[in-house]
Symmetry: C2
Subunit: 386 residues, 2 copies
């Protein structure tokens, strides 16, 4: 029931009864219990013209469970405070030059951003956890980053570093940014009823996350969903991961800049887009080529996952209108007819903040799974947050 309120927003008792299939008295008991936990509150219904006594409306209480969400990627770091129901109290994103920052420096920077956001939360809020999205291959159990090739990191105990630097006594969960982007697009972006979704994000490489039957695909240890490092061209280029011909070597940002003959920095994609809009044939061709390779890889994933929806994020969202037809054409060359005809390809609904919001969703999922556990009054966050 809490999930219904968190994802679907406020609902009357009758709506909750219908949505959960529970009987009215069980629903009333649950509302009372969640009310005591300060996770929901009932408010009078807005008066409508419908006959009968209006049922009061149950609202999720954002201040009853606040997630501190973070994102650590190549071009920026970001922090947000997000309450139950998806209410974003505040968010901040800081661009970073593409020097290789050490994990320690990055953690210090992101923790500095977090302080003011926590301080500006309403009095009496309950912090329920910290979630961090990172552009790397991450073990879920302990938030250990094995490899973040585009950040230049290897074997970083990121959750432990964040917990130490934050010093707020609450659990820190770390996950791959595209996995979290997929979670956020599923919960906050996709049309209701979508249960099989791919999120493909154009970054320096390609991030990808998969929702299978409403659940994030994690695999045995949380490494699943690394589509950017599947082979697409054995005659292709070396990838930063050590292999040759990975999907991201043909469809990632570097591939776009290489094809467009634009120098590789954070503004390179905008340069390519501007040139294409001005009619530069090299730029137009580069975008179409990247779109085609993107579509080819999507076709592979369509055959593997049979999703209803493919959501394109990162630079793919920015280029969407310019290359959507190339992407669809590439997809059609690969996808089998049956799953290919079922799938829709759309730009991200959440844009640059998809993974950041996914980090909040990761934390809030824990509250939904066990509402009575793992929460903490703000009093506990003494010190360390200057």
């Amino acid at each position: 029931m809490l999930e219904r309120l968190h994802v679907g927003g406020p609902a009357s008792r009758s709506e909750l009864t219908a949505a959960t299939g529970l009987n009215r008295s069980t629903v009333a008991d649950l509302i009372a219990e969640l009310g005591e936990l300060e996770l929901v509150e009932e408010r009078p219904a807005v008066v409508t013209s419908r006959p009968g006594r209006p049922s009061p409306v149950v609202h999720p209480r954002p201040d009853g469970a606040v997630a501190l969400a973070m994102e650590l990627v190549v071009d920026s770091i970001a922090v947000a405070t997000v309450g139950l129901g998806g209410h974003v109290y505040n968010r901040v994103r800081v661009a970073r030059p593409r020097d290789r920052f050490s994990p320690e420096e990055t953690v210090q920077d992101v923790v500095k951003l977090a302080g003011p956001l926590l301080d500006s939360l309403p009095a009496g809020y309950r912090l329920c956890g910290v979630g961090a999205a990172v552009a790397g291959i991450t073990r879920r159990a302990d938030g250990f980053v094995h490899l973040a090739p585009n950040l230049g990191w290897r074997d970083v105990p990121l959750a432990a570093l964040l917990a130490e630097e934050l010093d707020i006594g609450t659990a820190v969960a770390v996950a791959n940014e595209a996995d979290l982007g997929a979670l956020a697009e599923y919960r906050r972006g996709a049309p209701p009823g979508t249960e099989h979704l791919l999120y493909i994000s154009g970054e320096v490489g390609i991030g990808s996350g998969v929702i299978v039957d409403g659940e994030p695909l994690l695999g045995a240890a949380g490494y699943a969903g690394e589509a950017g490092h599947t082979l697409i061209n054995p005659a292709g280029r070396a990838c930063r991961c050590g292999a040759v011909g990975c999907w991201e070597t043909e469809a990632g940002e570097l591939a776009l800049l290489r094809r467009a003959r634009v120098r590789g920095d954070a503004s390179g994609v905008d340069t390519v887009a501007e040139r294409a809009d001005a009619g530069d044939p090299t730029a137009v061709r580069a975008i179409a080529e990247v779109g085609r390779w993107l579509g080819i890889g999507i076709g592979n994933l369509v055959n593997l996952f049979n999703p209803e929806l493919v959501v394109l994020g990162g630079l793919y969202e920015r280029l969407f209108d310019r290359f959507a037809s190339s992407v669809r054409e590439g997809m059609r060359t690969r996808a089998l007819a049956a799953p290919g005809e079922l799938v829709t390809i759309v730009p991200s609904a959440l844009g640059i903040d998809a993974a950041l919001l996914g980090a909040a969703e990761l934390v809030l999922s824990g509250v939904i799974a066990d509402p009575a556990d793992g929460r903490q009054r703000p009093a506990a966050r003494a010190g360390g947050m200057t």
Copy 2:
């Protein structure tokens, strides 16, 4: 609890209490209920040297829920009768030449095989459904086969054809053979605790099925898991699916025979294996090359699914000892270190009958999910089974 008994075999009440986390009286109630449904029976414990009164042992009753399982593939058709707990009453497999049989002929042949098997079941058995494995892309909802390129079938309402020809009034479920092979290997082959498994079967093409967190990966309509038709070599050969460079064009049976310069019929793989064993360098090289491409594709899937176990079936099981090192080497060139180090590659535990047994498991899963429903006394199968 029924799942525990079906997969794990007979257990005492205390073991069931421990396994399910339910209390003793609930377990006793459930046993009584399942006993009335003739799905389980209690038998006296074998006397042991352990102190205390021996707890009676609860056995699944195979005759309480029998699945009629079928397999329709390129080189053979097969039928089995399998009871709850995985008891195989009987199975029969008939090789077929590689002419293109029509769906109608194939269905008639398989139904003819089924009659004697049903007739030889113990008196009073309950047939709970028909499951069929087919080498094609199949919609789960209605058992409609969109495309079975290696059978030469397109748009075949297979479940409807089987139901009509069998005329036994029970539901007919149809699914992709490799998806069912994965299910059987998960339930009956893999070590306990394995929850993420890939089943890759070498046939004329490549069949593949995926278990994610203990559940078959189906996708939105049941088409998921078509790894054989993911791109592995854009400079490669045309595939029967219409695309170019699919995995199966490099690692399927035809690729093996082509590389070994052996004529393509059902005995071709044995010829290659014999020549390799006799030291023929062309055959040795062909097996190693196919193994390497197989491993490369497995590496892609390891990055996507992060499985604990990869089970090789079909011709890959027969070649396993001859090419395991090439497979592992190919896998290592592609898999990221973190998921690559976690995965074990093994030959099929169930061999040629994996998909057939999976078809039975598909039907029995329905009984486990809803023990009181969808079952039927044999009296109902009047006529049509001569």
